[in-house]
């Protein structure tokens, strides 16, 4: 187990360093960030001045180590646009993004797991087909469009829900519904396949042959085994939701990290963009590391294989 953990830590650190280099260079690969910041009709002197002011005239690796060193001590620099501290910009807004991601994840799981279990107990019946149909539907519907249709229906026609802002919990209903439906299909399919595999195994047959309560067999014996990969996927999906909520945040004017990143990308505000990209990557790396270790702890085949 210790070897497994050490190896995973080693890989995670390597990936984290690479990701930080990529995140750092994202807006710089155009080659001339200073020229873009200085504006379209800036003279060469003005561009050079901008480059000097932001330290963009130094060699790439010097800039990177300077930034990484400061970042490790908690200094992510200031936004070029609002001159606020990037750390404060992010901490102010991460709450909204986290909330939306957690709500959507919970909704997705609450829809998917019971549906997947139900479908697996009656394969190839109308219930199974309905569940798979719903999954196909959820995968194919463009979520930005679904969000607009919901705004039209629940917000404008019925006037049940607020359509923009993040002041109350009601503001989170439509974005959560949309994102929950987006992440539901993968959980549903995984639960269903996992359950079908487990229900076919000998120990379930034994449990049933012993005359145990079928519902108990389904949830206590079968689901317990089938849920493991679903939990690993949940960690991955949570990481995806943090970065993927940018569309919902921009439609519903939820002032989260995704929208901040989107705005900053549009105005080439590189200190903000690189910090958010690297931060979201690190969260993802941490989540997958934890879920791998937990899985290895639960399943010896992983840590020995």
């Amino acid at each position: 187990m210790l070897n497994f953990v050490i190896h995973r830590i080693y890989v995670s650190i390597l990936v984290a360093i690479t990701v930080s280099v990529i995140g750092f260079s994202l807006l710089r690969i155009s080659g001339d960030l200073a020229a873009e910041l200085a504006g379209e009709d800036a003279s060469t002197e003005e561009i050079a001045e901008v480059a000097k002011a932001y330290g963009l005239d130094r060699p790439f690796h010097v800039q990177y180590f300077d930034w990484a060193g400061k970042a490790l001590s908690g200094d992510l620099g200031r936004s070029l646009f609002t001159n606020e501290l990037v750390v404060e910009l992010i901490t102010d807004r991460i709450g909204v993004t986290f909330k939306l991601a957690i709500y959507s994840l919970i909704l997705g799981l609450l829809l998917a797991v019971p549906l997947g279990v139900l479908a697996s107990t009656r394969p190839n019946t109308w219930i199974d087909r309905m569940a798979l149909g719903l999954a196909v539907f959820g995968q194919a519907i463009p979520n930005f469009w679904l969000a607009l249709i919901m705004i039209l229906f629940f917000g404008v026609t019925l006037r049940w829900l607020p359509i923009s802002g993040s002041e109350t919990e009601w503001h989170f209903v439509m974005p959560t519904l949309t994102l929950g439906l987006t992440v539901m299909p993968q959980f549903m399919r995984l639960t269903r396949t996992g359950m079908l595999d487990v229900l076919d195994s000998d120990f379930i047959r034994t449990a049933r042959a012993k005359g145990l309560n079928p519902i108990r067999v389904l949830f206590k014996h079968a689901l317990r085994n089938a849920i493991l990969p679903v939990i690993s996927l949940a960690a991955v999906v949570f990481g995806f939701l943090l970065g993927g909520s940018v569309i919902m945040e921009s439609i519903f004017a939820l002032n989260g990290v995704g929208f901040l990143a989107f705005e900053s990308i549009q105005r080439q505000d590189f200190p903000v963009v690189q910090s958010i990209v690297v931060m979201l990557s690190f969260i993802y790396i941490l989540l997958t590391f934890l879920s791998d270790v937990i899985n290895a702890q639960l399943d010896p085949r992983i840590r020995l294989g």
Binding site: V15, L26, A140, F144, I149, G239, F240, I265, Q266, S281
Partner: protein, 314 residues
């Protein structure tokens, strides 16, 4: 008592079967392609999805012949005309017109070109990149494999949508730039699947045999491993094509994708959004178009999987 045929000059029974035997044999055990054809004919999802995809493909290829108007042609006197199902609609503009007086039907038809092209090429480019990496990692193992796994891990850790948005802001929203950026977003699934399947294939006897006769590693990978992965690659490609179409629409919707006046469906939704409350068709039509195309491609992809490998259906 077992009778042993000691006459070595006698023909071996199976090498010269009589005519009737061949027929019987083929009736009882159809060839794999024949089996696939039979399964395809019975697969409702595949037929339905395939038909819609084919129709959209025809619309896209012959768009200039089918579309009644030039999709860029602005007629400011004909702004925001209602669609045909509206009481004031007319057949001259079946889907009405947009805020600049452009025929919406023509724009939606031309939009099919963008979606199909981006979806197809993004899926194809990422298939080449991902499968190559996956096969190399799976075949060679050891340090090479560790490098491939490391690349996959880096890719997975990056927030894909934000990286794509940044790259579009740097490289612009041209068709080729978008295809490359989307290909970068989607290569990892091919790599994961081809890598693990290659690891299984590598231990087969026909690979050992190819190594024994001195085939080069390139030849083994291309000639022996790749053909056995083709079905899986095609299935992933069809599903990734659907996702690529959705992501392109989302990027264009956000304004960091295909640039106006090109009629991308995502962009049409975004342009219609400001008139959404009193002209909802400007948003519903292109959205339904995306939904129809993506669901059809998914149904076709699921169908291909069921038809080529029914044992892996679940």
């Amino acid at each position: 008592m077992i009778k042993v045929n000691t006459d070595i000059t006698a023909p071996i029974a199976t090498s010269h079967p009589r005519e009737e035997e061949i027929d019987e044999f083929e009736i009882s055990v159809p060839s794999p392609p024949e089996l696939m054809k039979r399964r395809a004919k019975k697969h409702v999802g595949f037929i339905l999805g395939g038909t819609v995809v084919l129709l959209v493909l025809i619309l896209a290829v012959f768009a200039p012949l089918i579309a009644p108007f030039d999709p860029y042609d602005q007629t400011l006197t004909n702004r925001l005309l209602p669609p045909i199902w509206h009481e004031k609609g007319s057949w001259s503009h079946p889907f009405g017109t947009d805020a600049l007086g452009r025929d919406y039907f023509s724009r939606v038809i031309f939009g099919a070109r963008i979606s199909l092209m981006i979806g197809f090429f993004a899926a194809a480019v990422s298939a080449v990149v991902g499968s190559t990496l996956g096969m190399i990692g799976g075949y060679f193992g050891g340090k090479t494999d560790a490098v491939v796994m490391y690349l996959i891990n880096v890719k997975l850790a990056l927030p894909g949508l934000l990286v794509a948005l940044s790259l579009v802001s740097v490289f612009g929203g041209s068709l080729i730039a978008l295809i490359c950026i989307l290909a970068f977003l989607f290569w990892d699934r091919y790599a994961v699947v081809t890598r693990s399947v290659t690891q299984q294939i590598r231990t087969n006897d026909y690979i050992t045999a190819a190594q024994a006769v001195g085939a080069s590693r390139l030849r083994i990978i291309v000639g022996e491993v790749l053909p056995n992965l083709m079905n899986q690659i095609i299935v992933i490609a069809s599903l990734e094509m659907a996702v690529a179409i959705l992501v392109e629409a989302a990027l264009s919707f956000l304004g960091l994708g295909i640039q106006p006046p090109t009629p991308s469906w995502g962009l049409l939704v975004s342009e219609g959004r400001s008139f959404m409350f009193f002209k909802p068709y400007l948003v519903t039509i292109p959205g339904l178009a995306i939904f129809m195309l993506v669901i059809s491609i998914n149904m076709m992809g699921d169908g291909i999987r069921d038809i080529t490998a029914p044992e892996g259906r679940n």
